[in-house]
Amino acid sequence: MTWSIRRAAVSLSVFLALLVAGAWPWLPVQRGFSAMYCPLANLVLAPQTFGWGGHARLVPLSRIERRPGDNVTADAVVALTVFGWEGDLQMGTSLRRDVYLPLWILIALLIAVPLPFARRMKALAIGVPIMILLDLAALELRVTWTFAFQLRGIYAADAGSVWRRLVDLAYGALLTPPGNRFIAPLGVGAAIIAWSREPRLGLDSSPGCNEDVTSGV
C-alpha cells in the first residue's frame, strides 16, 4: 500500500473527527465510563496487599468536580486503606483523562488507518486489552508509589533501597509526564499497525523487501 497524500489526508480527517466526537466532554459518558471501569480495575486492585497491610480500591463518583486537594477534575477516587487503621485516604483521579481518552485515541487511530475489516477487528481486539492493561499497570504504580512515598510504615523506609529508587524513577518517568498518556495509545497503535501490515515508511531501502512485505496484504 502506498500512502498517497489524499489517502493520508482522508485518514487524518477521519481520525480527528472521531477524536473530537469521542473526546467531547459529555458528562453522562464520563460517569458511565467511570462506573464501568472501576469494577474492572478493582478485580485487579482490590485483592492485593501493598507492603504491610495497604489496600486500594477505585470508587466511581456520581458528581464530577474538582475537589479540594485534588489537581484534577475527578470522576473517581482511589481509596487507600491500611489494615488496623480506620478511615481511608482518597485521591481524586480523572479516568476520562487517564483511561478513556487514551483508549479512544487508540480506537480512533485503528479505525482511521486503512486496514481490511478483519485486520481492523483483530487490531482492535488486540489493542484495546493492551491499553487497558497499561492503564491498570499505571494505576498499580501510582498506588505503590503513594504507599511508598506518601504514607509511612507501609513499606520499609530505607530510602537507599534499589526498589524504592526504581519505583520513584518509574513514577517520575512514566506517570509524571502529562504527554505519556497520549503517546502510549499512538505508540501501541503504531506497533499494532506495523505488526498487522508494513506501511511504506522508507524503513528498508531494499525495494524488493517492501514490495514483498506489502504484496501479501
Partner: protein
C-alpha cells in the same frame, strides 16, 4: 530446477525471512522498539530524581525560566501587562511553568523517533534541531492559549490544560515527525545533480 542462491530475488529473500521469523520481516516493529529504548534513555535522563541544586536540576530550572520568559513575551500580544518573574507568568492570569509544562515528553519523543530513523546522520541532526524548535514554538503557543483561556474562560481551563492542548502537542509532535520523514524521503528520491561538463 531449483533456483540457485544467486538467483533468489530480494523479495523472495524477504519472504523467506518472514516465514523464518527473521527480524527483517518487521522493520517497522524493530524501529518502534528502538524508539522505545531511546525514549526510555531520554526519560531516564530528564525525569531522574536528581538531588536539589544538582546540575541537571539547575539546567532544567533555567530552561523553565526561559520558557516562561518567551511565553510571557508572546502573551504580551494579548495582555500588555503580562510579565515573567522566574518561572511564573503574571498578569490578568497567573501561571507557573513547571516541568510538566515544558513539553519535555514531546521533545524526547521527537528526538528518539528522529535519531533512530534510518536516514543520514546530517538529516537526523537537522531534524532534531529544527523539530525541537518547532515543538518548542508550539509549546509557547500552547502556554499563550492557556493564558487567554484562563483570562476569558476560566471554567474551561482544566479541560483545555489537561486534555485538549496535551493531545494537541503530542499530535503536533507526530506531525513534525511525519513532515520530517516526507522531507527525507523527497531528498532520497530526488535525482542526483549531474556533474558539470568540463
Amino acid at each position: 530446477m531449483p533456483a540457485s542462491a544467486s538467483e533468489v530475488t530480494p523479495g523472495a529473500r524477504a519472504s523467506g525471512a518472514a516465514r523464518q521469523g527473521n527480524p527483517r520481516r518487521r522493520p517497522a516493529l524493530a524501529y518502534l522498539l528502538r524508539v522505545a529504548v531511546a525514549m526510555a534513555v531520554f526519560y531516564g535522563l530528564l525525569y531522574f530524581p536528581y538531588p536539589p541544586d544538582s546540575l541537571p536540576v539547575c539546567a532544567i530550572s533555567g530552561y523553565l525560566r526561559g520558557v516562561a520568559a518567551v511565553s510571557a513575551a508572546f502573551v504580551r500580544l494579548f495582555d500588555a501587562g503580562a510579565r515573567a518573574h522566574g518561572d511564573v507568568i503574571d498578569g490578568r492570569f497567573s501561571m507557573r511553568i513547571v516541568l510538566d509544562c515544558a513539553a519535555l515528553d514531546a521533545h524526547a519523543l521527537l528526538a528518539a523517533a528522529v535519531l533512530v530513523f534510518p536516514a543520514r546522520w546530517r538529516q537526523r541532526i537537522a531534524g532534531v534541531v529544527a523539530g525541537t524548535l518547532v515543538v518548542a514554538a508550539v509549546n509557547v503557543a500552547r502556554i499563550a492559549v492557556l493564558y487567554v483561556v484562563g483570562v476569558r474562560w476560566p471554567s474551561a481551563f482544566p479541560v483545555v490544560h489537561e486534555e485538549v492542548l496535551q493531545i494537541a502537542i503530542i499530535l503536533a509532535t507526530f506531525s513534525v515527525f511525519g513532515g520530517w520523514i516526507a522531507i527525507v524521503r523527497r531528498a532520497e528520491l530526488a535525482p542526483a545533480v549531474p556533474a558539470a561538463a568540463p
